[in-house]
Symmetry: C2
Subunit: 116 residues, 2 copies
DNA sequence: GATGCCAGTTACCTAAAGGATACCAACATG
DNA sequence: CATGTTGGTATCCTTTAGGTAACTGGCATC
């Protein structure tokens, strides 16, 4: 089956859908931290520089609602709570990798611009 | 030379840098429209559904300042103004392509979620 | 029994993003 | 000579994102 070619309007719509889910300063960094093995609230907070508890709490709820993270309560004593990424969240990896690459090149570009 | 492995902190920083440049509802859609050949103000406005002149104007200035677009004035009669993408802007393509792909799959995921 | 860690919540505030609407001069088109 | 197009500005307004700071209850540790 031939790969369908999307119209520019469709492409824009899909990009806006994606932006809607990931945009903001914190969602991707949080998912990256959790994916990296930082699964507990304070761990995540330490892994994501400068995020406040209030914002982290709100973002975690948001990500859970959007099925990107799962919150699990273990009834150990004291109770332990972990956040883990879903497979759906992992599907963002190729995009995130491109964002990392671009961010890296962007730093270099900024340096160049300052020296112009 | 071996490909360097970035730490999670570095990766987060680069992603945040990228987010800083592209986030918001309109920047990527505008660049996509311009790249698609919609180079004049009203063309871009028509190509990007629901954007207002005020916002488009502001975003174009922003993108120009960030060296992602170039504004050219032709002194024809009447004067014609075009916006074109820079090579730097084109370097976003792999990332944008991933965002399109993800947005497409996301729609399907949402449908699935509603039927659960 | 004071202090500290965990997982948050609450109230308050500011800045930025974005939308609605009206308007403009210069030209072109019927 | 009325109407439309082009490339925007100017005002005003609402919503959202995000930051600051204080606080809580349960448990553990010194």
């Amino acid at each position: 089956m031939a790969k369908k070619e999307l119209s520019i309007e469709q492409k824009i719509k899909y990009v806006q859908d994606t932006l809607f889910v990931i945009s903001g300063k914190w969602k991707l960094p949080i998912m990256m931290a959790v994916n990296n093995g930082n699964q507990r609230f304070r761990d995540i907070q330490r892994a994501v520089p400068n995020i406040t508890t209030r914002v982290l709490s709100k973002e975690l709820k948001d990500l859970e609602e959007n099925r990107l993270l799962v919150r699990t309560v273990y009834d150990s004593l004291p109770v332990t709570i972990t956040y883990t990424v879903t497979p759906y969240c992992k599907s963002l990896k190729p995009m995130v990798d491109e964002m990392i690459k671009w961010g890296e090149r962007h730093r270099a570009e900024l340096k160049k611009a300052r020296n112009d």
